[in-house]
Amino acid sequence: MRGIRNILIFMFLLFAAPSFAAGHSSTSDKIDVKKVIFEHVKDTYEWHITTVGEKHVAISLPIILYSNRTGWEIFWSSVFHEQESYKGFYISYMGDNEGKIVESDGNGGERRPLLDISITKTVLSVFISSLLLIVIVLFTARWYRRHDADDKAPRGFVGVMEMLITMVVDDVIKPNVGKNYKRYTPYLLTAFFFIFLNNLMGLLPIFPGGANVTGNIAVTFALALCTFIAVNFFGNKEYYKEIFWPDVPIFLKLPVPMMPIIELFGIFVKPFALTIRLFANILAGHTVVLAFVCIIFITMSVSKYIGTAMTFVSVVFTIFMNVLELLVAFIQAFVFTMLSSVFIGLSQPEHHENKH
């Protein structure tokens, strides 16, 4: 009985979606798919949740600016609902700074304020998932604090966390980092769970999820920067010797330091690879899911019948993509942690002399 009811609800939703879409498409004839998708994956100054009729339901976020012209400015993003500009600041709608806050540069052009540390949608999402991550891990840690080593293994949520932690530590960190792995375990675990949680949050369709956090290059860049610090600030003497005076024939090092330049280049390529890999994977995932959803609206504007038929296809594909993204969410967190472990492991080489 329950199965039949679920199917009926599913069918109802399928047929409700196109009628809703049809109503939407009547207001604006052509749908700019690229714009729709970009609006969803881009960082914005307010968190748009939905539109009921003509009314936008959005969370207003604080904008924090520093400009040479006005000094520090803090105001809510909702001011732009009533007026185009506020104290000379406005949101650019075209050009390089599209969607960003700009001010007039006095020559008829526009420029970004000197500093823009607004709490945007992505920042708020990062805060939310950070808080969630702290709560989750501290909740898990509380269990361990209250139990002894000879107690039974945890069950339920704590058990899942233990399984994940054990897997990351035993399969990723230990074999890749080497004998010093204990020092880097907290960082690598934090990175893993931070990315994994943000990826999962990004898959939720509505607030507090849905923001494209790990598909934003600034976020992945910050994470890669942390790995960069872990690799280069804590690398041992051997590591730097291999960079500046590697074990190669002398003519590769003098008079033109070819190998050292290549090695030096490698230092910066590694975090760059981390940044792009995570960013591109998650962004692509979000884009594909949104594109499948957009199929409904495109075909609906062509014909109601084709649209209804295509709705079914698109919903099936969207579900498939979401499940696939679930897998990708885990894999990308896993890969980021693994590559970071490998890079850290490379920064702790054993003594070469012993190997020969």
Partner: protein, 169 residues
């Protein structure tokens, strides 16, 4: 290409947020969990090791008890065998003793019988001699009254008497 340019403000907040998360989890989160997991792993390893040791010990004890049992069995068999030997010896000895005794008794009896027989014979002989004397007396007394017979008889006796020493030679 605004997608490929990291936004400074977002980078700033991201570094702060991640830094705070990392600091808190580094201080209160993951080390507690990982050290506890390691501890539990060690505990399980120890427990397994101890169980193995105990098993080995138990196997040793079993072996020992089996050996003791075997020894006891062997001892029992040996004792039984010895007991059989002792019993046989006792019986044999008793037999021999009884035989010797019976032989002795028989011998004594035989000796006694012989002695008694001899005595009886002697007595019989004596009586026979007496009787023969008496008879001879009577015979002689009658014969002497009849002259011829007496002479004849006297002659035969004399012949015998003369012949007897010849036989002895």
């Amino acid at each position: 290409m605004s997608f490929l340019l990291p936004e400074a403000g977002l980078l700033f907040w991201m570094l702060i947020a991640f830094g705070v998360v990392f600091f808190i989890l580094y201080k209160y989160g993951f080390p507690v969990i990982t050290s506890m997991i390691d501890e539990r792993k060690k505990f399980i390893d120890d427990a397994l090791h101890n169980a193995k040791l105990a098993n080995e010990k138990l196997a040793g004890i079993e072996e020992q008890s089996r050996q003791i049992l075997e020894k006891a069995n062997a001892e029992q068999v040996k004792i039984l065998r010895e007991a059989v030997v002792v019993r046989d010896n006792i019986i044999k000895e008793a037999h021999e003793k009884a035989e010797a005794e019976s032989a002795r008794i028989v011998a004594t009896a035989r000796e006694q019988i012989r002695q008694e027989k001899d005595e009886v014979l002697r007595e019989i002989r004596a009586q026979v001699a007496e009787l023969s004397l008496a008879i001879a007396e009577k015979v002689i007394r009658k014969e002497l009254s009849d002259g011829n017979v007496c002479d004849e008889y006297m002659n035969t006796l004399l012949d015998e008497a003369f012949e007897a020493p010849k036989d002895k030679k």
